[in-house]
């Protein structure tokens, strides 16, 4: 589905993405993990057209999509969420969702004056759909609340909710889990699996929660210092020395010290 | 071929005036940029703050002159400057208490401050005109020239004269020192950094134990000092007239913005850019070319790129082009 070829993104002298090449298979739930600052978000941003690459290519279904603006990519079925929530703060949560579907009749000025009937019908359907999503995310009580005034975790949920408003081909999720309650995250995980199975969405997920990754994803791609360090199933990755050293670690050191002190 | 005369002509009509004017703009722009950098809004009252400060200085200067106090070859106004700064400081801090603090508490959008500052501008405008009137006021004294055109001609025997006014010299020096100090203050001192922190993230500044009221007060004090100094130097060089100070606002803003809002170095660069584009692009190069060309030859036209009618437009045009390539100014300024 997505092929990234030798992608580079430099900020001044700093190589945030440094020759990354990877493939996201159609129909997979691919995980992208790696230490902080490995370049995952930057890679997402380049793929999604937010940042222009320094060099390299991004191909989607055989078509070169390098450097296309985000709204064009959206229309090609590429959706993404943001690691740091980008809600529309002055709009209500419901409006945050309702604005998503593309090509709404009422988005053309002419129709807002002379196509009231059609708009009204569409709006009704959209509203129902938005409410459904809100309910799924357990935030239906916030439907009319300004999105700028909800909790950090709820913003992340909204972030995810927007991708559920349309039929996408591929969805990039940037740490949807960070700050989300684990019980809810499990439900979200289920939903992702369902969307993947039933509707054939492809997912690419950045996460630091290995349980979540383990439950959902295959394959797992590990990035470090701007390039791909390893790729494989979750178990392979968990056993990979390099990955353990750079990313996973070996657990709490103070565990022993504490025990020592307490004994 | 007479390179010396050509150079002196250019120096006399372009480089010195533009540098001095640039420094004047830069001093004003430093104040604007500081308010933007710390308090995050474009202060439209800055021109009138300058006028107010200058007015105080003028009144004091008159007093001093009346009492027979002078400052040797330097203008007496420099002696009166501290008083002007102090009173202007009181005024702007008072204004902040009465007007801006309320919006800060409300966490109002920057545009609200901008409009509020328009209101403040109207009021200060009225106060200044009320106290000192709308006419030209002169208060310059001391040695007018570091070197005057005639002296230069007599000294060098060149055909062209070269004039360099005391006020121009002082302005250039003061502008550069002010920029250096401000840069050092904001980037190196604890207080300066806390001011930047406040402007970046007010809530977090609170959590770091930074006292917002103190930050705001210091900002206004510096602004008062800058505005008064800028206004006084401008007044010494040209003359004091309330309306001109209001008009000065536009090029000052242009300088601050094109330099990159919030950045002292940007303010200086912006000031010079505006000044040089105003003076340079519309300069008629005829004389210079005449000197450079063969003896006795002179070009037909004025050798002027654009007529001076368009000097303001030209400087804005250049500003636009700069912004197209550097959307947040030469020095990558802030944007709210």
């Amino acid at each position: 589905m997505i092929v990234v070829e030798d992608l580079h993104k430099h900020f001044g002298g700093f190589h945030a993405v440094d020759g990354a090449s990877l493939t996201i298979e159609t129909g997979s739930i691919t995980a992208l993990i790696g230490p902080n600052g490995a370049g995952k978000t930057t890679l997402f941003n380049v793929i999604a057209g937010v940042l222009p690459p320094t060099s390299g290519r991004v191909v989607m279904d055989g078509e070169d999509i390098t450097g296309l603006p985000p709204h064009v990519l959206f229309s090609k079925g590429l959706l993404r969420t943001f690691q740091i929530a980008h809600e529309f703060h002055s709009m209500t949560c419901r409006e945050n969702l309702m604005m998503v579907p593309p090509g709404q009749t009422g988005e053309t000025l002419w129709n807002t004056w002379f196509g009231r009937k059609r708009i009204a019908d569409e709006e009704r359907a959209l509203r129902a759909k938005a409410d459904e999503v809100l309910e799924f995310l357990t935030v239906e009580h916030l439907a009319d609340h300004p999105a700028g005034q909800i909790s950090g975790g709820q913003k992340k949920l909204l972030e995810l909710g927007r991708t559920m408003m349309v039929d996408a081909k591929i969805v990039f999720l940037d740490e949807v889990g960070a700050g989300v309650n684990r019980t809810l995250l499990n439900t979200i995980g289920d939903a992702i699996i369902r969307l993947n199975r039933e509707r054939g969405y492809t997912f690419c997920v950045i996460e630091h929660d290995m349980d979540f990754i383990g439950r959902l994803c295959d394959p797992v791609i590990v990035m470090a210092e701007g390039h791909v360090l390893a790729k494989g199933t979750i178990d392979e990755i968990k056993a990979n020395e390099a990955v353990i050293e750079a990313y996973l670690g070996t657990g709490l050191k103070n565990k022993d010290k504490l025990e020592g002190a307490g004994a | 071929m007479d390179i010396l005369n050509a150079f002196v002509t250019l120096l006399n009509f372009v480089i010195i005036p533009a540098t001095a004017y640039g420094a004047q703009l830069a001093l004003g722009a430093l104040g604007v940029t500081l308010i933007y950098g710390i308090l995050r809004f474009s202060n439209f009252a800055h021109g009138d703050t300058m006028a107010f400060g200058t007015m105080i200085v003028i009144l004091c200067t008159w007093g001093l002159q009346g009492a027979g106090v002078t400052f040797g070859p330097l203008p007496t106004a420099l002696l009166a400057l501290p008083v002007g700064i102090a009173l202007t400081g009181l005024l702007v801090i008072g204004t902040d208490r009465v007007v801006y603090r309320f919006y800060r508490r409300q966490k109002a959008k920057p545009v609200i401050y901008v409009i509020a500052s328009l209101g403040v501008m109207f009021i200060m405008n009225g106060i200044v005109r009320f106290i000192i009137g709308v006419d030209d006021q002169r208060f310059a004294d001391g040695e007018r020239f570091i070197i005057s055109a005639r002296t230069f001609r007599d000294l060098t025997g060149l055909e062209e004269g070269l004039a360099f006014r005391t006020s121009q010299g002082i302005t250039i020096v003061v502008a550069l020192i002010a920029m250096g100090l401000l840069f050092w203050f904001l980037n190196r001192t604890r207080t300066g950094k806390s001011m930047r922190a406040f402007s970046d993230n007010e809530d977090l500044a609170l959590l770091s134990g930074i006292n917002p009221e103190r930050v705001v007060m210091i900002t206004w004090l510096i602004v008062a000092a800058l505005a008064t100094t800028a206004g006084t130097l401008y007044g010494l060089d040209k003359s004091f007239k309330a309306f001109t100070y209001f008009q000065l606002l536009l090029p000052i803003f242009a300088a601050a913005i094109v330099g990159g809002l919030g950045n002292p170095v940007g303010a200086i660069l912006g000031g010079f850019l505006i000044a040089f584009s105003e003076v340079g692009v519309t300069y008629a190069f005829r004389k210079v070319v005449e000197y450079l060309g063969p003896e006795g030859w002179s070009p037909d036209g004025l050798m002027q790129l654009l007529s001076t009618d368009y000097k303001f437009a030209v400087s804005f045009g250049i500003l636009l082009i700069v912004l197209l390539f550097r959307p947040t100014g030469i020095m990558k300024g802030k944007s709210v």
């Binding site: - | 004017y21 519309t282 002027q304």
Partner: protein, 374 residues
């Protein structure tokens, strides 16, 4: 009628704000004089209502509207800028049949404007001054000049008519460059003018606007040291500011060899303001004309006294100088004719505008001296 109100519609704020106070003082001085004399229409008191035209079309219309329909004035002295005068005249004064006498709107456009006989001015059209100035310069033996004008209808009109006249008379104009008033810096203009060169620099600007800035920069850089000063630039402020630095500079402004100006200056000084302020004397005359015409018509209704303005302003009749308004009123009451000379030697021609006799001045030892009349 006990009180007569006259509107003083001037640009008290905005680009010409420093001109307005002196003019208003002048107009009000005339009113005070008349009131004191107790001779107008059997002892009427004349009071002034000020309106701010701000040199802006809409504001001036609004202010005129207020003066006429709310304050109920019987005549208007104003407006200051031509750009504010025309809309106030066409949109408000004419529909309401109100008389306007402008002391300072000198745009040639006003000469031909359809005004139903309601508009007069005590300052001559710029078209005339251009010719006079051209002659003046050539007579002094200068034949190449550079010109800078303030970029409005006054400056532009004057510069145009001057340049045309000067070229016709055989002189050379090296450059005609505009300058905007109230700007921070005039180095660019002076640079261009200096490059163009010329024996003298004609500064068709305002004494308290960009004009002095231009002169300052030209003097400092050594670009010019002799300046030609038309009406907007003549005043004590200029010599106060530059003193002997501009010795030899010369110019002209409306006036005749009557003693009027000097008398007016004394009157103004007694009243506590500067009588040489630009257009202040013209304002005095404008107010005087309106009141004298009222007396002549025996009415304060504009439609009735408008026709008498020309009569009182021009010969034949007893000449009237500043400070003699009381006498004039009595003469008129007695049915005699007067010829109002006033502070600026008023002579109205054509559609009610000043004929334009000019007083030629020169700066000698840092003082403005009258050297000739044209």
């Amino acid at each position: 009628q006990d009180t007569i109100t006259l509107g003083v519609l001037l640009g008290f704020t905005g680009p010409a704000e420093s001109l307005a106070p002196g003019m208003a003082d002048g107009a009000e001085l005339a009113m005070a004089e008349v009131t004191e004399s107790g001779a107008l229409l059997g002892g009427a008191t004349v009071v002034s209502v000020r309106g701010d035209s701000a040199c802006d079309a809409t504001l001036s219309v609004a202010a005129a509207e207020r003066l006429i329909t709310s304050a109920g004035v019987n005549g208007i002295i104003g407006a200051l800028c031509s750009g504010a005068t025309i809309p106030a005249l066409t949109n408000v004064a004419m529909p309401n049949g109100m008389v306007m006498v402008s002391p300072s709107a000198t745009s040639p456009a006003l000469s031909t404007l359809e005004d139903n006989g309601l508009f007069f001015r005590t300052a001559p059209s710029d078209a005339r001054q251009g010719v006079v100035m051209a002659q003046n310069i050539l007579d002094r033996g200068f034949d190449t000049v550079a010109v800078t004008y303030t970029n409005n209808d006054y400056g532009r009109g004057l510069a145009d008519s001057f340049a045309a006249a000067f070229a016709e008379l055989g002189g050379t104009v090296t450059l005609v460059a505009s300058h905007e008033d109230g700007r921070a810096d005039y180095s660019a203009e002076v640079g261009a003018l200096a490059a163009a060169g010329g024996d003298v620099l004609v500064v068709a600007g305002y004494i308290d606007q960009g004009g002095p800035g231009i002169i300052r920069a030209a003097l400092d850089t050594g670009a010019f040291d002799t300046f030609v000063l038309p009406d907007g630039m003549v005043g004590n402020a200029i010599t106060e500011r530059f003193g002997t630095e501009i010795n030899g500079s010369f110019g002209q402004f409306p006036g005749t060899d009557s003693e009027g100006a000097a008398m007016y200056f004394d009157l103004a000084t007694a009243a506590g303001f500067d009588g040489t302020a630009a257009f202040s004397a013209e304002a005095y005359d404008a107010a005087a004309l309106i009141m004298l015409a009222m007396q002549a018509a025996g009415s304060t209704v504009p439609a009735e006294y408008a026709a008498h303005i020309m009569d009182v302003a021009n010969a034949p009749g007893e000449p009237i100088l500043p400070g003699e308004l009381g006498r004039a009123l009595e003469l008129l009451a007695a049915g005699q004719d007067i010829d109002y000379i006033g502070a600026t030697a008023v002579e109205l021609i054509g559609g009610g505008e000043s004929a334009g006799a000019y007083r030629e001045i020169e700066v000698v030892d840092g003082v403005i001296q009258t050297v000739n009349f044209r």
